[in-house]
Amino acid sequence: MQREAQLLRLLQAVIGSVFTPALARGGGGSHHEELMARLHETAACAQELALAGTEEAARHLVALLEHRELEPGGRGGELRPEIEQRAEQLQALAEQELEARLAASAPPAPAGPGMPWGDFVFEAREHLSNIEQELLRLENSPDDPEAVHALFRSFHTIKGLAAIAGTETAREVAHQTENLLDEVRSGTRAVSSSLIDLALASADFLGEVVAAADLLDRGETVEIPEDAGELLDHLYCAMQNQNGEATSALSPLQPRAPKAAAGPTAARAAAGKGQSAVKVDTSKLDQLVDLVGELVIAQSLVQLDPALAALKDPKTAKNLNQLGRITSELQKTAMSLRVVPVGQTFRRMARVFRDLVRESNKQAVLETAGEDAELDRTIVEQLADPLMHMVRNAVDHGLEPPEDRVKAGKPMDGKIRLSATHQSGHVVIEVSDDGRGLDQDRILRKAVQRGLVKEGAQLSPAEILDLIFEPGFSTSEQVTAISGRGVGMDVVKREIERLRGRVEVRSETGKGTTFLLRVPLTLAIIDALVVKHADNRFILPLFTVREILKPRGQTIHSVEGKQEVALLRDRIVPILRIDKLLASGPNGAVSEGRPSEDLVLVVVESGPRRVALALDEVLGKQEVVIKSLGDWLGRIHGVAGGAILGDGSVGIILDLDSLMGREGYGLAA
């Protein structure tokens, strides 16, 4: 099965590069070479599968391309239509032969466990994300032939993949949609919004199939959806309707962006930029990063080895330095593999936005900028939900109805802007609307009603706006179907803080509201303070550390004889002894008896709370890669994970949130 999937993939790539402008200009040396390489692979693959016709067609195309390359500037341009035609023939032929081959061999085993769903999921997912994007593009510019071609090809490929995987309904849905698009392509059908709805509904169904296949691939027992409901009826009906309109007598289909849309894949990243890209399993990526981390440790052990230093050999020293440089370069590159552009999440928002605007009585356009800004893929994925919520809010609460906008002298179409910019180790994502702005009086009234602030409290405008992030606060007075789901901005804030980011809001009455999300570039690496107590080393995220001090005579006080507190510039901070944390485990090397006065105090902050950790020694500041301790240990109170330290041993990263939350130090004010 893998060979077949590979062949389809190769053909897709061939078609893709034949139809790109770079080739049309008759050049692009690397582009040409890549196409040639793919064609050679296609021929080899076809040979292995004993698809004689395909093999020959591929070789023929190679010859044609070689021929063209020999005559640069000459007949190069003239040959293009022939190359395109040959490439399409090649694809058609290969599919015919593949189908015949599949029919001849055993009937496709449907949806059994152990099927190679992985390829299907991986490929189809990428095409689906493409489809959504292209459909939205087509809706905005119905005359765009590129979009129609791209859509046609994507549905076509999914059809092939579904046939190989043996899921009949998905194949039929893709096939019918492809037929519709073919008519658009040949000019016998016009692009209409109902056509787009239909195609989106097909994509949604295929997305469900892919999601199920993904679960199957991970060994879970689920069934591949084989019931497309009314979708197929709609598709057949649309095909019969020759007027070019895709409307039907059936109840209108409402495509809805599935909440768990086919997850963004890292590989999509580079593909969008028209650069060549390789698809890599993310677990391999993580493994690579792990191994590079080890290499860095091994390299530093070698470089700092006293025996080698004693040699005093200039050549060895030079080579070691070279090794060091290469290692750190390699580490940088490996770390950069984890990042993906934020654009893929923006594209998902475009889809949500479209559905929202159709459901509400608003008129609006979505503007995006900075799609290229790159972030750790986990962050990009986890930004999706908060962003979706904020786009919802903007459409639902932010923008006024068209008639109100006209009265206010604004353009009828509201504008929502989604942008990303880099700012010193962070990415700032902006969600803004040009709607009515937040009503400060109403926010304050509501906050008083809910008991969040006292009646008559004097708050600055910024403080008032910040109230919308308080738990249980919701500005909308009536609950609507779209955003009134009991999830408020407090959830958005929490999610962003979980990513170690921050949310800010700015608003001007009548002009609009802007939310700024500031998130770190990566979750994998943190600046950390490495501390030592007894024989154990612990890691504290540096951004939580407020100060480090050696207590003096008047610093430490005792409350009711049991709880120690530190008095720091008139502020009372409870002391938490690290050995107390360890003592509850079996391996705690408790340095009993050492009074807190002899220890170092590291004051850490989490939310509004501060705690002074009492410990033996501060070892220093260092960048560490955060690693999970594994599922087996489960969630351990007070432990956020582990990190591999410079000497190769593991240090425990403390989770200050849970430490402070649980110990219940209510004293911090």
């Binding site: 360890l582 391996n587 489960g634 351990i636």
Partner: protein
């Protein structure tokens, strides 16, 4: 490469190959299909608040891997580690999707073939020092007795109540 290794392991498992090791005077055996590698004893970083039999975590080529003391897990008395003590890295699930777990044993002795005919069910054994459910079968091979470890029970998630789980109970108690 990895696929081949995987297939080989499965083949071996099918053929009834076991890794034998000892704890005190008892000899145990586990199917080799579940063994990833055997590594020498090394410094282990303790994890605060973890279950008693969790010794801590180690760095296995850049991955953080938890390590358990099999003596404590099974309910045997702990003792100082001898020179032959080592860490057997095992796979909690046959599908290899979960991350591996290190298991400290007093020493490994051999890889041996155990035929189905040599295996006996043993219900009464667990009455002694050992917690229930960890050994249900016993094998007699070459005149020696090997306890067949139930890998799924041994490598299942920590059974002691995690520290976090206490809170709801406390809240409940306060109400009542």
């Amino acid at each position: 490469m990895e696929d081949i290794a995987q297939t080989m392991r499965q083949d071996l498992q099918g053929a009834g190959k076991f890794l034998a090791f000892w704890l005190g005077k008892e000899e145990f055996a586990v199917p080799v299909g579940r063994i990833r590698e055997i590594i020498p004893w090394q410094e282990i970083t303790p994890v605060p608040q973890a279950a008693a039999y969790v010794l801590g975590v180690i760095n296995l080529r850049g991955k953080v891997v938890p390590v358990m003391d099999l003596r404590l897990r099974l309910g045997m008395a702990g003792q100082d580690r001898g020179l032959r003590a080592c860490i057997v890295v095992m796979q909690p699930d046959a599908k290899k999707t979960q991350s591996p777990i290190g298991v400290v044993v007093d020493g490994v002795s051999e890889v041996l073939q155990i035929q189905p005919g040599e295996v006996e069910e043993t219900a009464s054994l667990s009455s002694g020092w050992m917690h229930l459910g960890y050994v249900n079968q016993i094998a007699k091979s070459k005149g020696k007795v090997k306890l067949l470890l139930e890998m799924d029970s041994v490598l299942a998630g920590p059974m002691e109540v995690p520290a976090d789980a206490e809170e709801p109970e406390l809240a409940g108690a306060a109400k009542g």
